[in-house]
Subunit: 238 residues, 6 copies
Amino acid sequence: MKRSDGRKPNELRVIKITKDYLKHPAGSCLIECGETKVICTATVENTVPPFLKGTGKGWVTAEYGMLPGSCSSRIKRNDASGRVHEIQRLVGRSLRAVVEMNQIGENTIKIDCDVIQADGGTRTASITGGFVALVLALDKMKKQKIIQRIPIKDYVAAVSVGIVENTLLLDLKYDEDSNAQMDMNVVMLGKEQFVEVQGTAEKGSFSKKQMDGLLDLAQKGVEQLMTIQKGILKGIKF
Amino acid sequence: MKRSDGRKPNELRVIKITKDYLKHPAGSCLIECGETKVICTATVENTVPPFLKGTGKGWVTAEYGMLPGSCSSRIKRNDASGRVHEIQRLVGRSLRAVVEMNQIGENTIKIDCDVIQADGGTRTASITGGFVALVLALDKMKKQKIIQRIPIKDYVAAVSVGIVENTLLLDLKYDEDSNAQMDMNVVMLGKEQFVEVQGTAEKGSFSKKQMDGLLDLAQKGVEQLMTIQKGILKGIKF
Amino acid sequence: MKRSDGRKPNELRVIKITKDYLKHPAGSCLIECGETKVICTATVENTVPPFLKGTGKGWVTAEYGMLPGSCSSRIKRNDASGRVHEIQRLVGRSLRAVVEMNQIGENTIKIDCDVIQADGGTRTASITGGFVALVLALDKMKKQKIIQRIPIKDYVAAVSVGIVENTLLLDLKYDEDSNAQMDMNVVMLGKEQFVEVQGTAEKGSFSKKQMDGLLDLAQKGVEQLMTIQKGILKGIKF
Amino acid sequence: MKRSDGRKPNELRVIKITKDYLKHPAGSCLIECGETKVICTATVENTVPPFLKGTGKGWVTAEYGMLPGSCSSRIKRNDASGRVHEIQRLVGRSLRAVVEMNQIGENTIKIDCDVIQADGGTRTASITGGFVALVLALDKMKKQKIIQRIPIKDYVAAVSVGIVENTLLLDLKYDEDSNAQMDMNVVMLGKEQFVEVQGTAEKGSFSKKQMDGLLDLAQKGVEQLMTIQKGILKGIKF
Amino acid sequence: MKRSDGRKPNELRVIKITKDYLKHPAGSCLIECGETKVICTATVENTVPPFLKGTGKGWVTAEYGMLPGSCSSRIKRNDASGRVHEIQRLVGRSLRAVVEMNQIGENTIKIDCDVIQADGGTRTASITGGFVALVLALDKMKKQKIIQRIPIKDYVAAVSVGIVENTLLLDLKYDEDSNAQMDMNVVMLGKEQFVEVQGTAEKGSFSKKQMDGLLDLAQKGVEQLMTIQKGILKGIKF
Amino acid sequence: MKRSDGRKPNELRVIKITKDYLKHPAGSCLIECGETKVICTATVENTVPPFLKGTGKGWVTAEYGMLPGSCSSRIKRNDASGRVHEIQRLVGRSLRAVVEMNQIGENTIKIDCDVIQADGGTRTASITGGFVALVLALDKMKKQKIIQRIPIKDYVAAVSVGIVENTLLLDLKYDEDSNAQMDMNVVMLGKEQFVEVQGTAEKGSFSKKQMDGLLDLAQKGVEQLMTIQKGILKGIKF
C-alpha cells in the first residue's frame, strides 16, 4: 500500500505550529499538519457555568468550526451538526484532563478551533494546537497575576490512526480517512497514558490485534507531537 | 470495592427484552438492563437521504431521547444537546455495521430509542435493543415481500465497562458511572470483532493494560447479551 | 352503528392506571385507556414563573409529547405543533382548577404526559392520569414536610365524546375519532361541574340537542373514571 | 353587575366592518368591535398542502398576530406562543366549515388576522371579519374566472360569552374577560347550528344550566353579527 | 419621464400623519405617504440594554415589520430577513441622533413601525412617523413626571430620492423604486445637516454630480416633512 | 490630530493581498489592510435562487463572518446579527455591480469573507478582496470551459472614510472608527463612478461640505486599491 504523499505507514505529516498567530486572544496558534490548517485561540472569561458558581473552580471548554471554504465542497456556515458537537466535546474533555481547575479561579478558558483548510485529522490537530493556545493563555494570566503558576499537570496531544487496505497507518490524510476500514482517534498524556480512545469501524469490524498495533503507532506519533509542543512552549515553566 | 447492587465486577445486570412492545411500529421492544429501561422502535420510510437517491441502496439511522421524568432531575423536553447527537450517531453507525444496505431497497429504517427510565448504560442498551427492533422490522418487511431475505450480516450488541476505585467493572450503573475514573463503551459483533470502542478518562488517565482488561470484560458481557438477543429472535432466519 | 371493538355507545374502554410507574419523579403513573397508553409524571421544581415571584404562591403546568413510534406513521421527534401547544395548555388549566396554589409554596409542579402508544383520547387520558401523578407528588411533598396537607379541592377527570354516523358515542377510539362528524372533550370536577368543554364540528355542524346528549354521556364516563382514580389514590387524604 | 361601558348584559359592542381596507390582498376588511380592531386579509396562493396535492381540492387556513403596540403592555414581535397557535387553528377550522373545498381548485386561501388594537374578543372578531375577507376574495376569484360560483355553504360568525360576578354576559371586553369566572367562545352557522364551542372555567367551575344560558346569549349575538356581515356582502351571491 | 401618479420630479406624495392612532402605547401615529401606510408606536420600558446598566442613561431602539397583506404578494409572517434588520437599525440610529440619552433615565423607548400597506418608502416613512410617536411618548413621560423636559435636540425626518430613466426624482413610489438605476435614502436634521445618507446603484453606477442633485432634492423634501411634523406636534415644547 | 499609527490623514494602511490562499475553493485570497485580515473565497454552485430558475442567468452572493478570536473581546460563534446581515448584503450588491449575470450560466458564485483579525474596515476589505476571489474563480471557470470569457465589466473596490476630531481621515483603524463623529463606506468602480455610499453620523450630524471632502479622499484611496488589485490579477484578461 503506497500513501498518496509518499509517507511511510508510521510517519507523521510535516507539523508546524506558529504561536501568537492572532493579536487579540490571550493565547493563539496556527497548527498545520500537512495541508490541514487550524487556528486555535484561547480567551478567558470571568465567569463559569452554573454548576461551578461559588466553588472557586474554573472551567475549560472548546468550540470547533470550519470556514465555508475549508473543504472541497463548500461547508454551510454555522453548521451545528452532530459531528461538530462531538468534536467540541472531545476537545474540551481532552484539555480539561490536564488542567488543575481549582487553580484558575472562577474563570472559563474557551478554546476556539477554526479550521481554515481541511485535509483529515482536524479534531486531533485541534487538541494538539488547542493545548498550545491554552498554555499561552495561562502564561498570560500568570503575567497578569491572575494566577500564581501555570496549573498544567501534563502535556496532551492527539493523532489519528487507521486501517487502509489492511495496512495500519499513522496520521491519516483525507483521502486515506475516507477509504479507511476503521479509524481511531487517540488522545494521550506523557508516559504512555491514554485520555481518550475512539475507534470506529467504517466498513466491517476490527480485531483486538489490529487495535493493539494501532495504539502502538499512535503512541509513537504523540511522542513526536509533544516534542514539537515542547519546542514551541520552551521557556514557559509548568 | 463493593457494588451498590451486590454484583460481582464481571457481572451484567438482569437483562430483559420484551419484543413487539408497541403495536404501531414495524419492529419494537422494551429493553431493561436493571433499572434502565429503553423503548426501541424501528419504522420504515420509503425514502433515503439525498446522497443515496438513485443508488438502489437503503439507509439505517437512529434517534435518541429521554423522557422528562426519566432521570433524578427533570430532563428538559426536546433537548438536542451534544450528548444526544453523539449517542444517536453512535447507535446509527453500530446498526449500519451489520446491514447489507443494497438489499433493502431505497428505504430508510429509523430506529428510535426512547429512555423511559435511566440508570446508566442507556446508549449501550439502545444499541442492543435497537438491533432487536431492527431485525423485527426486517422480518415484517420480508413478510410483506418488500425484501426477499433478512439482510443482516451478524449480531451486534454493546456494553459499558469502566474503572471505579481502581477496580475494572462490567455494565456500570449510574452511581458507578458518575464515580468512574474512566469508562468505555464497546460495541461488538460476534467472533470477537469490534465495531466501536470509545474510552474516556473522566479523571486522570488510563494505561494500555487497564484497557486490555476492560476489553476482555466487555467481550464476555457482549457474548451474554447476544445469547439473550438470539433467544428473543429465535425463529427469524438470517 | 357498530363500534370496532364491540363496545356499547355509552361504554368506556378498559381503563388501567399503574401508579409509581417510574422511580425518579415525585409522582408518576401509566394510564391505559384501551390501546392508548400515556406515562404521566409530576416533578417539583423550587421556582415559579416570573409573574408569581414573591407572591408565596406556586404553579402547576403541563407538557405533552408523543414518542416517535406511538402512532401508525412515525411522529417527528420534538414536534411543537399547534396541536401540542393546545393540549398542554388544556392539561395545565384542567389540573390548576383543583389545586390551592397558595398552599404549595413557591414551587412549580410540572406534569409531563408522554404518549407511548396512541389510539384516540390521549389528551383526556393525560388529564385523568396527570391528576393521579399530581396527587402522588403532593403526597410525597407532604411526607417530606414541604407542605402540611394535600391542597386538592376536588377530583378532575376528562373524557371525549362525539358523533359518528349520527350516533352519540362515549370515549372515541382513533378510528372513531377520525370519522367523527364532531367531537368534544369534556373536563369535569365531581358534582356535575364542568371545567372545560371543547366541541368541534369536523364535518358540518351540530345542534344544541346533540350537545346536550353528549354532555350527558360525558358525565357518566367521568364518574366512572373518578371511581378508578379514587381506588388508586385510596389512603391519601385530601 | 354594571358593565364598564354601560352595556346591558345581552348587548354587543358597536360593530363596524370596513371592507376592501387594503389595496393589495384579494379580500380585506377592518373589523372593529368596540375598541378591538383587527385587519383581516385573504390572499390566494396557487398551491395546497402536501396531503391535498393531486386531489383537485383547495384549502383555507389562517394566521393570527398582534401588533407590538396593540396591548397595554408591549407584545413581543413574532410571538408564536401556544395561545397564537390555538387561535389560528380555531379561525382556520371555523372558516373551513363553510367552504366547499372541491370548488376552489388546488388553491390555498390564507386568512391573516392582525390585531392592531386589542380590547377582548380578538379571536371571535377574527372569525367574523375573516369570513368577510374570505368571501371578498372568492368574489374576486369568480370575477377572474378562476371559479364559476362562490362556494360558500353558510355564514359563519363568532362571539364570546362569559360569567362575571355571577352574571351571564355577551361579548366580553378585556376588563370583563380578565375577571370572568369562565368564558366561552362560540362559533355558529346560520339556523342555530354550532361549529365550535370552547368553554373554560378560569376560576372554579360551571354548571350545565349556566352553559345553557350562555349558549342562548351567544346565539342572539351571532344573529346580529350575521346581519352586519350580510349588509357588507350585499350584492355578492352565494 | 412621466411619473405614474402625475407628480413633478421634485414633488412629495400627499403626506398625512394621524397622531394618537392607538390607545395603548405611550405615543403613536399613522403616517400615510401616498398609498404607503405605517403605524408607528412608542412604548417605554423600565430597563436598558446591558451596556447601559448603571450609567443613568436611556436608550431608543426600533423594530420594523410588514403585515402579511401589505404587499402585492403575501409577506411571510415574522420574516427576519437581512432587509428587516437593516431597516430597524437605520430607524433606531436616526432617532437616537436627536435624543439626549442622559435625560430619560434608565428607560428604553421602543419604536415599532408596522407597515400595513406598502408602496415604496416604508423605511423613510418609519423614521418620519417614528419621530412623531417618540415625541408624543416623551410628552407623556413629562406629564407623568418621569422626565422634566422633552430632551429632543432637533427634528429628524427622511425621504428617498433616486434616478429613473436618467431623471432625478423625489419620494419614489414602488413602481419607480423597482425601476430605479439608483436610489438613496436621506435622513436629515434641521439646518441642512445630514444624519445618514445611503445611496445604492441598482443598475450600473452614479456620478458625484448626480449625487449632488439628489441630495438637493432630498433636502427640499425633508423641509416639507418637517413642516408637517411641526404642525402635528404643535403645542409640545422642546 | 495625530493618527495612532503615524499615517497622514489621506494615507491608506499597508495593503497586502495573497492570492490562492486556500487550496479547495475556486478562487481565494487573504487581504490584509494593516492589522485587519480577511480570508475571501469564491465557490461555484450549479444552482440559482428560485427567481432566476430557467432564465439562463447566474447570481453572485456573499456571506460574512468573524472568527471568535478576531476581536479584542470574543465574538459569539455563528452570530447572525443585524450588522452581519447588513454587511453581507452590501458585499453581495457591490460585487454584482460588475458581473454580467447572463454570461455565467445558471450558477451561483458565493463569496465568503471570514475575518480572522479585525482592526476596522472589515467590510470594505471584504469587498476589495472579494473582487479578487471572484475574478480568480471566473478565471478557473474559463479554464474549465464553463464560460468563454471573464464577464467582468469593471473593477470594484471599497474604503472607509470618516471624521475624527473634526479631521477628515482615509481608511479608519478600529480606534479611529470607534471615536469617529461620522464614518462613510464608499464603494466605487473605475472612472470616478460610485456603486454605494453609506454615511452615518455616530455623534451629531455632518454637512454637505464635509461629505464632499470625504468622497474626494475615498476616491483617491480606491484608485490605489485598484492598482493593487490590478497587480494581483495581472495576466487575467477581462
